[in-house]
């Protein structure tokens, strides 16, 4: 409506949609005294409050409903069309969009919906035609979609199907065309605002970069056409003057001036009464000149929007890079037995270098900011802030330099690191390192970002096979290895799959061994052994099942998956059964380490989750097969929230108790587990019902890993942290997320809320999106705090590793994106990923803070 191009950051702002304050068409129409009526999505009402003389907004966030949203619009139509007291009528039909989101573009629901829309169009058109005799001006009916639909029925990406929409002008003012249909013209979305403004006789909005669509005004006289084009060109050149200091040199502006001059000549001729062929031809020439000028003006204005603020980008990149370097340099110290992570602040702060750097950076800042031609974010922030950032950069540099110097002074320090001192790296270490580096490098390719889930699935599969090999070695080869360890033969990386084969073919021989050994202790050990051997395979099968639950990414997203099958309305009974089983499984898996009170709260909460889903119509109770009353489920959801808060509160109480009274470790681990189970309950509430199995498998895999893999194998905290991180990332994608904005499930932010409330909605949406990584991180904390007896610095190591492993891809990605900023896919692929990474950093920071809080409790207790 403003005719301007949205910046990428508008994607985030759009969720909230506050009042549109920019100059826009609706506002212009209102000030011109037009009476506007609106029916449809209430986002419009929020965008333009008090602009409409009459409106009825429908909330658009209940995607499962595709009939009521449209009936809400259509029911007003008959009465409104009969009335004469309006100038503009805006109807926004949501049903088709909802069908797309729900069941995709090939759904059987699409046909009837389109037929319904056709009928409505027919009704409006005939009614407008019948009115036309009375009024002097012809009516115009515009049909357009605000976005297309991808193969999966969502939108927000940049594929051909998503960004191309039909635009249809129907009016008696256009000349009737017979014969075959012409190939439709391709126009920009921004052109509509300019065209409508001209058509309604309103001023074009200030920030519009659109060109008037010529074929709409084709029926007018040459004089009028030229007048309209001049108006459009004048507005664009004004906009250019505001945004570009060197506007006079712009080719578009020059063209416009030339066209203006010849327009003047044409007017002179016209006024002289020269009405010959010459005039017409000259007019056509001027028209062509205008069109060309408009085109160039528009494109140079659009480019203006997409200019990069290199200076601010560099500052940000430098800070991130320095933090990563600092983390890397302090790795040997932080992973030592004492797990100390100290930044030597005072000596570098008083060094000459620090002040010199500060001064130099300030000088650079002044030079850059005074010579900058276009807007720069970092120059526009206050001076105090800028100086603060400068000081931060130089302090970090000095700290890094001093740490580096220290490392050079006593190079023996790294040898104390337990991970490195064990001179031979196991296959698992190699895999972890290769995986981390490989993933970071793969972020440079747009396809690998689109299909990042494949990378993670591949990595955790390989990780499982490596674990399987470790377990085989642990159970079968311990004795032999002990004998061989002393020999100095070079270690071979024997192969993952090969050893798994060994395992499989080894079953008969071990069975015979088992037959001989009859003592009960050995038998118990045997069962443990088989559990351990089977567990990686169970995890692999779980992962394979989850993988086919949600197809994400771009290339294979259209493949049929289990999730879509479940959400289609024919399989509601199956979905209900699955949801019920999942909730029961969640209860069984979570309750084993809870106190009695939280057990009861958990059970009631999970019941509440099911009744909430039944209330909003996702699942059915067996006893109410055909009741259709769909509500928002506010009461049920709030009922669950009470239990979530209750469980988290008891958990926090236990944690505080263990901190203040320094009670035993048990209270603390119960407290942590209760916080964890509270989060699980919250996730169960806001996950879509077909995603509940993801939660179940998450808990199941964590249980299996803790019991059967980590307990016998005795990995150090760093390895376990990285494994948790990998699984967390994989679960992010198992949930159905991807690296495009379209896959964020906004409906999670509206669970239990009547209307949009900013803070809870953002929190809930963020939690629903990042539930996988978060739950794995909290589980890591639970596990490490139970491991404290074995390694007192476990939590410290874990926290440090988590921060490091998360910051590596972020830093690499920021540098890559800066380098690739002129890539063709920068806006469609790389930018959304950058947003996801930014959000991930926030969550990692929160997790690390939680870790540190827990760790400090621990260290205090040790001091006591």
């Amino acid at each position: 409506m403003t005719g301007s191009i949205p910046g990428f950051i508008d994607v985030i702002m759009n969720l909230n949609s506050p009042t549109l304050l920019e100059d826009n068409l609706i506002w212009q129409a209102k000030t011109a005294g037009k009476r506007i009526i609106f029916y449809g999505d209430d986002t419009w009402v929020k965008l333009f409050p008090k602009h409409f003389v009459e409106y009825d907004g429908t909330t658009s966030f209940f995607v499962s409903d595709y009939t009521e949203v449209d009936d809400n619009v259509t029911r007003h139509l008959d009465s409104v069309l009969k009335r004469e007291d309006w100038d503009i009528l805006i109807l926004h039909y949501l049903g088709l969009d909802h069908i797309g989101h729900l069941t995709g573009p090939n759904s059987p629901l699409v046909g009837p919906k389109l037929y319904e829309m056709d009928n409505i169009l027919k009704k409006i058109h005939t009614s407008l035609l019948s009115k036309e005799g009375e009024s002097s001006l012809p009516n115009l009916l515009i049909v357009c979609g605000d976005h297309g639909m991808s193969e999966t029925g969502s939108h927000g990406g940049s594929s051909e199907e998503e960004v191309h929409t039909p635009l249809l002008f129907i009016s008696s003012a256009f000349e009737k065309r017979s014969g075959p249909l012409k190939q439709p013209e391709l126009v920009q979305q921004t052109d509509l605002a300019a065209t409508l403004a001209i058509g309604l006789g309103l001023p074009i909005s200030r920030n519009s970069v659109g060109n008037i669509i010529l074929s709409v005004i084709e029926g007018k006289t040459m004089r009028e056409q030229l007048r309209f084009l001049h108006l459009n060109g004048f507005q664009l050149s004004r906009l250019l003057q505001e945004n570009m200091p060197t506007y006079e040199k712009d080719p578009g502006f020059e063209h416009f001036k030339i066209a203006e001059k010849s327009h003047g000549n044409w007017i002179k001729l016209y006024l002289e009464g020269n009405n010959s062929e010459v005039l017409l031809n000259l007019g056509k020439k001027v028209l062509k000149q205008y069109l060309e000028a408009l085109k160039i003006l528009s494109s140079s204005l659009s480019k203006q929007v997409a200019q990069y603020d290199i200076y601010s980008m560099t500052v940000g990149t430098v800070i991130v890079l320095e933090v990563l370097l600092l983390l890397l340099l302090s790795m040997p110290k932080a992973l030592s037995n004492r797990a100390e992570f100290e930044v030597p602040l005072s000596p570098p702060l008083f060094s000459l270098l620090f002040y010199l750097m500060c001064l130099m950076l300030c000088a650079v800042h002044v030079i850059v900011c005074t010579s900058a031609e276009n807007l720069c974010y970092f120059c526009s922030i206050s001076w105090l802030m800028a100086v603060g950032v400068m000081m931060l950069i130089s302090a970090l540099t000095c700290v890094i330099l001093s740490a580096f110097g220290k490392m050079l002074e006593n190079p023996k320090l790294p040898a104390k690191n337990p991970a490195v001192s064990n001179s031979s790296w196991s296959e698992l270490d190699v895999l972890i390192l290769a995986g981390t580096v490989g993933h970071a490098v793969s972020l440079g390719a747009s396809s690998f970002i689109e299909e990042e889930h494949q990378t993670w699935y591949f990595l955790i599969n390989t990780l499982c096979l490596a674990l399987c090999q470790e377990i085989c070695r642990h159970y079968f080869l311990v004795k032999e290895c002990d004998l061989h360890l002393s020999t100095a033969v070079k270690q071979n990386f024997d192969d993952i799959e090969e050893t798994t084969q060994c395992r499989n073919v080894d079953i008969p021989s071990c069975d015979s061994k088992l037959g001989k050994v009859t003592s009960s202790g050995q038998l118990l050990k045997g069962s443990e052994k088989w559990m351990g051997l089977a567990s990686p395979w169970i995890i692999l099968i779980c992962c394979r099942l989850l993988r086919s639950l949600n197809q994400t990414g771009v290339q294979w997203a259209h493949r049929p998956d289990f999730g879509h099958w479940l959400t289609s309305s024919e399989h509601k009974a199956v979905l209900s059964l699955l949801a019920a089983i999942s909730l029961v499984m969640i209860f069984i898996l979570v309750q084993r380490r809870c106190s009695l009170v939280s057990k009861i709260a958990m059970a009631l909460g999970l019941l509440g989750v099911y009744s909430y889903r039944a209330a909003i119509g996702n699942v059915v109770f067996p006893w109410q097969q055909d009741s259709k009353d769909i509500s928002k489920g506010i009461i049920e959801a709030r009922f669950v929230y009470v239990f979530v808060l209750g469980i988290i509160f008891t958990g926090t109480k236990d944690l505080l108790k263990s901190q203040v009274i320094s009670a035993d470790c048990k209270t603390k681990s119960i407290g942590l587990w209760e916080v964890y189970s509270g989060l699980v309950l919250l996730a169960a509430l806001i996950f879509r019902p077909h995603n509940l199995p993801v939660l179940v498998f998450c808990l199941l895999i964590q249980m299996i890993m803790t019991r059967c893999i980590w307990k016998p194998l005795k990995f150090d905290a760093a390895q376990i942290t990285i494994m948790h991180y990998w699984f967390g990332q994989a679960f992010f994608y198992f949930q159905g997320n991807s690296n495009s904005i379209a896959s964020v499930d906004i409906s999670a932010g509206f669970v239990g809320l009547n209307n949009y409330v900013e803070i809870p909605a953002i929190f809930l949406t963020g939690f629903a999106t990042y539930a996988g990584p978060l739950l794995w991180a909290i589980h890591l904390l639970c596990y490490l705090s139970s491991e404290v007896s074995r390694n007192s610095a476990a939590i410290g190591h874990g926290c440090f590793c988590y921060a490091l492993i998360c910051s590596v891809p972020v830093t690499v990605y920021i540098i890559l994106v800066t380098g690739l900023r002129y890539h063709l896919f920068i806006w469609s692929v790389f930018s959304p990923k950058l947003l996801y990474e930014g959000m991930h950093v926030f969550i990692t920071a929160a997790v690390c803070m939680f870790f540190t809080a827990m760790d400090q409790n621990q260290s205090q207790k040790i001091h006591d």
Binding site: Q454, L477, D495, T499
Partner: protein, 219 residues
């Protein structure tokens, strides 16, 4: 003694490499429209069969682990049958692992299975020829420091290389280049083949390079 062994190993490996090269060069003379990429499944079959025969012939000629005992004919038959069963089990196992890695379960079963067969030929068959259906020997060879002869070492290297090759071969699949070799399972099977060939070449060189350090425990 050792040098002659290494020479024998090298010649055997060179024969294997040549057999693989022949599978890409010879069939177009007999079959119309044959190309490694276009008719990939046929190539997979031909390559597996060819490598199998070459391996078995080499085993019969070279006899890397000669046993002193005379073995009865019946024993030989049971051993052969056992080998077949092992090979089949390993095919199924590879198929399972590939599906767990994300290959489609129902569509393109044939492609996946033939790829599993190819992998088994490169790894299991090689081991079966060298070690026989002897589980203890397998565990010994594939545990750390378990090699007892250069043949065991070469076995470790070639097996590892072909599996790593197949693993690396999966990387180009998500790229949007739309090349014919990105179709499942071409990139993976080519990766496995290249890995196998590389392993065959690397193994004698590596053993030659490290012949001083390599000490083998006697049986």
């Amino acid at each position: 003694m050792k040098d002659t062994e290494i020479k024998r190993l090298l010649s055997a490996h060179i024969v294997c490499v040549f057999s693989i090269i022949l599978t890409t060069v010879v069939p177009p003379l007999f079959l119309e429209n044959f190309s490694v990429l276009g008719t990939h499944l046929i190539w997979l079959c031909i390559c597996s069969i060819c490598v199998t025969t070459v391996n078995i012939i080499l085993y019969i000629i070279l006899k890397p682990n000669p046993s002193s005992k005379r073995i009865s004919f019946a024993h030989k038959v049971t051993k052969f049958l056992k080998c077949c069963v092992f090979f089949f089990i390993s095919c199924i196992l590879f198929h399972g692992i590939i599906v767990l890695y994300g290959a489609p379960l129902i569509e393109s079963v044939l492609e996946t299975f033939l790829f599993a067969v190819l992998l088994s030929t490169f790894t299991t068959l090689h081991c079966l020829c060298m070690l026989g259906p002897n589980i203890q020997a397998w565990i010994r060879v594939f545990s750390k420091n378990g090699a007892m002869s250069i043949w065991d070492n070469s076995l470790q290297i070639t097996t590892m290389c072909s599996i790593v090759g197949a693993w690396l071969g999966a990387f180009p699949i998500p790229l949007d280049w739309d090349r014919p070799w990105q179709i499942w399972p071409i990139s993976c099977s080519l990766g496995a083949t290249f890995g196998y060939v590389a392993g065959l070449i690397i193994a004698p060189l590596w053993i030659y390079w490290n012949r001083k350090q390599l000490t083998y425990k006697s049986r």
